[in-house]
């Protein structure tokens, strides 16, 4: 089975790499039609025209677009993402700092989305055909109309301002010295052996992760509910019912196992969207991740960062899709036969 999963990864990589090329070219072209001049922006305001022109040549902006792209691609493949115009630092180090924060947040949010989604899906199915079921169904449509950032703002107002229960800015209280090992604070605080710090990190992540998780749990609920619906008519479920197996046992032991696969596929797609959703949640919670870096870069027209961060998002989404497909292969025995 491991061979099969590795084979799948290899095949997916063959697809993912050209996609990344096209993605990078696309971003490159879009950003080059920009009305602002990155050379002029990186110079002090009193720079002369000649000085700006020199900078343009130095940055390679005077060359034709395909050549510029080739140079950029060559550097990127070698791991040199250029340096930020605004922060005056290497883009690769900025991304290395922020990416773990975002991944950590997205993972926790996905966990919350999965937990809520499964609980909600089972509940919706359990209540099917009753007026409560109809009400719950309507409730899920209502829930779906509140996007993640509205939940985020509502949580800040409710649990941060009106009823100050949890912190809502940053990743860690400023009284703690930030440990630097992997960049994943949940991991780093454990490496340091500081449960108090770990708890503080969790507290900081709780509101943004729940806001994201809640918004993404609704589609999971609905798909789980409808695949349970379909399976409910399967022969083996009727058989079980005829044998007098209790409804609860049928649901948990027989139906859920088979209904989980379509739900998992959806969760893979959802995780990609959720990863994008971190962007605004990070801005709202001043959480120092990729999203905040991106929005800052957009505001400053900091092209090297925008390019690199957009590529980082795309790369993560492709990796997520790959992992989900691998997981699907592991969990679905029907796909495993040669």
């Amino acid at each position: 089975m491991i061979v099969q999963v590795l084979g799948l990864f290899a095949r997916r990589l063959l697809v993912a790499i050209p996609i990344l090329f096209v993605v990078s070219a696309l971003v490159f072209v879009v950003l080059r039609v920009l009305p602002v001049d990155p050379a002029a922006m990186s110079m002090p305001p009193n720079a002369t025209k000649a000085e700006i022109e020199m900078k343009r040549q130095e940055m390679g902006l005077d060359r034709p677009l395909p050549e510029q792209y080739a140079i950029w691609l060559d550097k990127t493949v070698k791991g040199d993402l250029g340096s930020s115009i605004h922060f005056r630092r290497a883009v690769s180090s900025l991304i290395a700092e922020t990416l773990p924060a975002t991944v950590e947040l997205a993972l926790l949010a996905m966990l919350i989305a999965a937990a809520l989604g499964f609980a909600g899906g089972l509940l919706l199915f359990h209540l099917r055909g009753t007026w409560r079921g109809e009400a719950a169904d309507l409730g899920s449509t209502v829930l779906m109309s509140a996007p993640d950032f509205l939940w985020g703002l509502l949580f800040i107002l409710a649990f941060g301002v009106l009823w100050p229960l949890l912190p809502f800015t940053g990743r860690l209280a400023s009284s703690f010295a930030r440990p630097v090992h992997t960049g994943f604070l949940l991991l780093d605080t454990l490496i340091e052996g500081r449960p108090d710090m770990f708890l503080d990190v969790v507290k900081h992540m709780l509101l943004p992760a729940t806001a994201l998780g809640l918004a993404f749990s609704v589609p999971i609920m609905r798909v789980l509910r409808s695949s349970l619906y379909e399976i409910d008519h399967a022969d083996y479920i009727r058989q079980a019912r005829l044998r007098g197996v209790s409804e609860g046992r049928i649901l948990l032991r027989h139906a859920l196992k088979n209904a989980v696969l379509p739900t998992l596929t959806l969760m893979g797609v959802q995780f990609g969207f959720l990863f994008g959703g971190t962007l605004l949640i990070e801005v709202i919670y001043s959480y120092p991740g990729l999203g905040n870096l991106m929005v800052d870069a957009v505001r400053n027209a900091d092209l090297p960062i925008i390019q690199a961060v957009a590529l980082a998002y795309a790369a993560v989404v492709l990796i997520i899709n790959m992992i989900v497909d691998g997981l699907y292969l592991v969990l679905n025995p029907r796909l495993r036969t040669v």
Binding site: E134, T141, M144, L153, V161, L280, A310
Partner: protein, 290 residues
């Protein structure tokens, strides 16, 4: 536990969705169309003496400012009404554009298959590898701030939503006998597509369109929240939220009201879409009769 069959009287909860959604969307649309008539104040008029007034019904409220004022003393109600204009303009224009591109490509891909399908499929793959928010931010950087850029960005990002779902539907429809019959009778490709296939995919198209309008409202709010949509001389809901965030400790209302406006609008579109899907989809209608 035995399930009680759903009573007939309660089935309105299902068809009622369309009505409820249409009413909500209708209200927002009226607000948008008649904002200049309905708004009690100029939405840009600042009054630095009466800043952050709470809504009229709470203590310290001023009846001339029904929903209170913001941090610059601007009337919140008027700003909300004018914000509806921006939201609805973007929702209608962007969804139409995304639908036109997405549906056309989906029909071409599903109908002709082969190379056309491969090419369009790969384009969708590339687009889907971007989180939508990230792609729209990149596009906005290239296009520059402004409401027309917002519309264009949403069209360029969200056509894939139509394309993916509709392509599958076209594939199914294409294999129907009546489509083959139409070709045998001598219908051209164009005529087969528009007369035979399009009517079959229409219900899904309408549903997707309604849902997309809700998404467009959200995206516009996001982009105006980060300051990339309308300019400072116009009001948009996302921008109001961004402003209110600065004074969250002084006034929660300023934050809640535009949030509520976004929520109600999106709910309206979602109810409409969900209800239409249930009433227009013959498979679902059949399942209900069983």
């Amino acid at each position: 536990m035995r399930k009680r069959p759903m009573r007939k009287e309660l089935s309105f909860l299902r068809s009622g969705r369309v009505t409820a959604g249409a009413i909500l969307v209708g209200i927002v649309l009226i607000c948008a169309l008649f904002a200049p008539l309905l708004a009690p104040h100029d939405p840009q008029e600042q009054n630095l003496i009466t800043t952050l007034t709470p809504p009229a019904w709470s203590t310290g409220g001023d009846p001339t400012y029904l929903l209170g004022t913001d941090s610059l003393g601007r009337d919140v109600l008027s700003r909300l009404l004018y914000g509806a204009r921006v939201a609805m303009t973007v929702a209608v224009a962007a969804s139409l554009g995304a639908m036109l591109i997405g549906a056309t490509l989906a029909h071409l891909a599903g109908y002709f298959g082969g190379k056309v399908d491969w090419l369009i499929g790969r384009a969708v793959d590339v687009w889907m590898s971007f989180p939508p928010v990230v792609l729209s931010l990149v596009l906005m950087t290239g296009l520059g701030a402004g409401i027309s850029s917002v519309i264009l960005a949403i069209v360029l990002v969200d056509w894939t939503r139509f394309c993916r779902v509709l392509r599958a539907e076209v594939l199914v429809t294409r294999r129907q006998d009546y489509v083959a019959a139409a070709r045998l009778v001598g219908f051209s490709h164009w005529r087969t597509l528009t007369r035979e296939i399009l009517p079959a995919t229409m219900p899904l198209l309408i549903t997707l369109f309604s849902i997309e309008m809700g998404i467009a409202v959200i995206v516009e709010a996001i982009l105006s929240f980060v300051g990339m949509s309308v300019g400072a001389n116009q009001s948009a809901w996302g921008q109001m939220i961004a402003d209110a965030r600065q004074t969250i400790y002084e006034s929660g209302w300023n934050l809640v009201l535009p949030m509520l406006a976004i929520f109600v609008t999106v709910l309206g579109f979602n109810l409409l879409g969900d209800g239409l899907r249930r009433t227009l989809d013959p498979r679902l209608a059949q399942a209900r009769e069983l």
